[in-house]
Symmetry: C2
Subunit: 254 residues, 2 copies
């Protein structure tokens, strides 16, 4: 590996995910977004709307990884405690950011400028704003922590806004070879290939769809040469077991 | 609260979730399954296929919560390291469980009984098996830790198998009142209601669908009386703001 690995973690803040009410839709989007930029998502946590839990989790993960992203809890209601909690994690407090205040002031007609809505202009001291092109109330960055909205449309729009601020490593590329052979049939030969490429991540993912079983073998590496030679060995393994390898994804796991 | 709270955590083990290749489909299923049984899911982590990370995470969370569930990494290939890692977390090792061996032996014709497949009969010493009605290779339980397959169909079937072993607290019920008012409009009055019911979890979830904005107000409590009286106050709040409250979910967040 010639380029330093760049790592990230993601904290999803929300009782509604833990209770099953809401399905998270941000994890997969962020994982793909980071992967394309050479940033390796290493850990995700889903935690409740409890200040002490947010503070502890943010402080652990921002020290451990290059970037930390959070989603959820930056709206106008009493259960939106993320901004104050992030401030506490940094040993500071929130203040009314003048640019955020102006954005919200311009967004609402006078009778809609409720104290609750204007509270969305409160961010930790030292934070810079992340634009929200969907509904205006901004996210923010403080040091290596990016605090985004939980609503997927806004989360995604904020990611696009901050993309230029992220410095990635060499992107990890992948090659997928698919077979109708079972995992248990390819396992032994696959382990030999994995041992030939100790720095490569070779994953084996069984699938079952429309009555057809099979296995997707996914090689991930920053080296295209290694990827192609490993893929050729995997294709050879499948042929040696009496099948013709299939390229790409036949199916996501289901 | 008359009944002790029963809590749980969930560890999703899988590089494929972190890279964005695979969308997790188990979190929401487990959250709903536990919620229905009066077990409160308090934390979820997604971690990579790295033994030290699995050991550390499992030991932290099994001490902190009543139950811990894991998904992924119990198949036949080299990247399936969950069973050995759980064993290490408990200071023990895997052994070939005779009942699991028999299940796999009966499942496969002789030429399909590969060493890789038979390895799926290896579980930590002290573990009891969790039946897998889909593809036979079992999960297992050791103390308060339940180790399940990652493939959603199998994960769900294993949960059904182990359901009788779980002891839950009083189920948390919920009432949802929906309005086309924005969060920022109801926020102030909602906080007053929250303060009247300090033990109740009142969440506010904005939605936007087909060009219509609105807010779902979700009250969660073990007390149906409290739920109904709080819901009536929320309905009153909405009426005082000039709208007729709508019952139930108009829309999930999107």
């Amino acid at each position: 590996m010639t380029v330093k690995e760049v790592t990230a973690a993601f904290v999803i803040i929300g009782n509604e995910i833990l209770s099953g009410r809401t399905k998270d839709a941000n994890l997969n989007y962020l994982a793909t977004f980071l992967n394309e930029r050479g940033i390796q998502l290493r850990e995700v946590r889903v935690i409740p709307d409890i200040t002490a839990t947010i503070v502890e989790t943010v402080n652990e993960l921002r020290a451990k990884f290059d970037y930390l992203f959070t989603s959820g809890g930056i709206g106008p209601t009493h259960d939106d405690i993320t901004s104050a909690s992030i401030a506490a994690a940094f040993g500071t407090e929130v203040y009314r950011h003048p640019d955020a205040e102006k954005v919200l002031f311009d967004q609402y007609v006078p009778e809609d400028r409720t104290p609750a809505r204007m509270k969305m202009a409160d961010v930790p001291r030292g934070a810079t704003l992340i634009d929200n092109p969907v509904s205006k109330a901004p996210g923010f960055r403080i040091e290596n922590v990016f605090t985004l909205a939980g609503v997927p449309k806004i989360f995604q729009a904020m990611l696009d806004e901050l993309a230029a601020d992220l410095v990635g490593g060499e992107p990890v590329k992948s090659v997928t070879v698919t077979t109708n052979l079972g995992e248990g049939v390819v396992a032994e030969g696959l382990e030999v290939i994995q041992n030939d490429y100790p720095d490569m991540d070779i994953g084996s993912y069984p699938f079952f769809r429309s009555g057809v079983f099979g296995t997707s073998l996914v090689m991930r590496s920053t080296s295209e040469d290694d990827l192609e030679s490993a893929a050729e060995k995997v294709r050879g393994l499948i042929r040696s077991l009496g099948q013709e390898p299939l390229e790409g994804e036949l199916s996501k796991d289901d």
